[in-house]
């Protein structure tokens, strides 16, 4: 065996090194030195993130007989995830160092890094075996992370709901996969693609594809597979919720695009375009409608993230490299805006334990900086110019329209109308914070250094990502030169 092929997996190996260092530090260092665990984890991960931007990473390579590939696009999407994870790590410092969690915060960091490793495999896999291993490595430790608040009953309830639906969805996914295997005789993406282009249409393929979409749709919380989302987001510790809503969703969305294009690309218009079409309309609309009636901020953001997942899927149904570029850009912007919102929520929750929307009434009078950060996050999520969210929505609509069919125009129109609906509920939060005359339940407080740092990074992302146009241009160039759509 040629061991030099492991060198293709530079980022995975880097992540494993970070994981091992954190693990060894957590296990073997004396009690006195343990206090710096959070700081060291953040520092190591920041170094790893910075190393990911090194130009030497941008090379095409494959390993294990083509089961694993890496290319500049993959490296970039992993970098986007890394930036998000870094912000999550910084924001969770305070929570991890609280008296209740300090005993087991090492496990939190280790589980988080392992799930990230699984997501890397999902993104880079070109064989379904590796993909399934990545999918499970990404979703199983998350259940343990959801159950992390041992003293809160909601955390356990959320974990049960998460693990049962996750296992159910992976069983459905594997069933679909077994049909695909039976039809084509291979689990390599490229070989399935070839076999399907010879004999495109069969009823079994439609069933198989429906199962596969359902399985990944659970991970992405697309409607009608979204029922676990709100409960899990509400019950999980806020740091885990932010990780779950941003990183896990971004990785799954990109992996979904790769599967649909590279494996089932030949049956786009016959089979999955219409499945995805219906799912997108349902996801955006139902996510929006349910978000309106939520009074708990975490549940509210859960439904908002469902509808955002629908917008992300527009980049998949676009089925061209512009769609892919705008999807990556959307994920990047979504990382910053959602993490800003969760940063504010976790800062207030850590201090006072309040997460209701009514508790935010009059927040501007007591904590003006936090409310401005929250306002920017809401504006960005709703897509108000000049914040990044506007540009990400604009680009993803552009990408979808490039596909050219009338149906997609109608889809984009529906998405646009939904954007207006979403304005209503995002602005409800802003209204509660700024306009409401009520006495605020949250006393003025100073958030911890780590929380402020995390919020500053997120807010900087929201404000500057839209204006600094080279980011999108870079993503567009990368996608245009990538080979993901080459076989078409």
């Amino acid at each position: 065996m040629d061991y030099s092929q492991f060198l293709a997996m530079k980022q995975e190996i880097g992540l494993l090194v970070v994981f091992l260092l954190v693990f060894l530090f957590d296990t073997f260092m004396p009690k006195k030195a343990q206090g710096s665990l959070s700081g060291i984890t953040c520092l190591l991960f920041a170094l790893f993130t910075a190393a990911g931007f090194c130009p030497c990473q941008l090379a095409d390579a494959d390993a294990f007989a083509g089961m694993y590939v890496t290319s500049p696009v993959m490296v970039t999407i992993k970098n986007i995830l890394n930036v998000g994870v870094l912000i999550v790590l910084i924001q969770s410092c305070r929570w991890a160092n609280s008296d209740i969690q300090i005993m087991r915060r090492g496990e939190f960091y280790e589980l988080l890094l392992v799930t990230l490793f699984g997501m890397y495999l999902m993104i880079s896999a070109r064989h379904f075996l590796l993909f399934v291993i990545g999918l499970e490595a990404a979703s199983l430790p998350l259940a343990a992370m959801v159950a992390f608040d041992k003293n809160r009953y909601e955390s356990h309830e959320a974990a049960v709901k998460y693990i049962l639906t996750a296992v159910f969805s992976s069983a459905v996914f594997l069933m679909g996969l077994s049909f695909v295997y039976g039809l084509t005789g291979s689990l390599y993406f490229a070989k399935i693609y070839e076999a399907l282009s010879v004999s495109p249409e069969s009823p079994m393929l439609i069933v198989a594809l429906a199962f596969v979409i359902a399985g990944v749709g659970f991970k992405l919380s697309l409607v009608p597979f979204h029922l676990w989302t709100a409960d899990v987001y509400q019950g999980a510790p806020t740091s885990v919720t932010s990780y779950l809503s941003v990183i896990s969703k971004g990785a799954a969305a990109f992996a979904f695009l790769v599967i649909l294009v590279q494996v089932f690309g030949t049956v786009y218009s016959q089979v999955w375009e219409w499945m995805l079409y219906a799912i997108i309309i349902l996801t955006i609309t139902i996510g929006n409608l349910f978000a309106i009636r939520q009074r708990n901020m975490k549940r509210f953001l859960a439904f908002s993230s469902i509808s955002q997942a629908g917008y992300i899927m527009l980049g998949v149904i676009a089925y061209n490299y512009v769609g892919m570029a705008s999807m990556m850009y959307y994920i990047l912007v979504y990382v910053f805006s959602n993490l800003a919102a969760f940063g504010v929520i976790s800062a207030i929750e850590n201090k006072t334990g309040l997460v209701g929307m009514d508790d935010y009434k009059g927040l501007y009078k007591t904590n003006p900086r936090l409310s401005v950060a929250m306002m920017l996050a809401m504006f960005s999520l709703a897509g108000i110019p000049p914040f990044a969210g506007f540009f990400s929505k604009f680009f993803i609509f552009t990408g979808a329209i490039q596909q050219g069919s009338i149906a997609i125009y109608v889809l984009v129109l529906i998405a646009l109308i939904n954007t207006i609906v979403s304005l209503y509920y995002y602005l409800l939060v802003v209204k509660a914070m700024f306009i409401s005359e009520d006495e605020c339940k949250v006393a003025p407080f100073r958030s911890s250094c780590s929380e402020r740092l995390g919020l500053w990074i997120s807010v900087a992302g929201i404000v500057f990502l839209g204006i600094v146009s080279c980011v999108y241009n870079y993503l567009l160039e990368l996608s245009a030169s990538s080979d993901i759509f080459a076989g078409l």
Binding site: V132, E136, A147, E157, L164, A171, M175, G235, F290
Partner: protein
Amino acid sequence: MDITLMYYLIPSLIMFCCGVYGFITRKNMIAILISLELMLNAVDINFVVFNRFLFPGQLEGMFFTLFAIAIAAAETALAIAIIINIFRVAKNIDVRDLTKMKF
């Protein structure tokens, strides 16, 4: 009698459907877990049978099954750990009681 592909596929499909039915109707969390295990095992049978009958020259399906079994074991272990946690708090593992959070 000639044993063909269908003699395996139909039982595995029935197993899968039983699993789905059990997942939806059972109230005890352990029973739900057993139903999930049925679904995962149906998948394993499918892979092995497709490999054995349709593509006898290769081993891809067999290997996939090995990994799927390992993953299923990991999932069950984790789920049981979480259910034990719930039992410690609520003294009960009925899913109908998991109603603290709902819309």
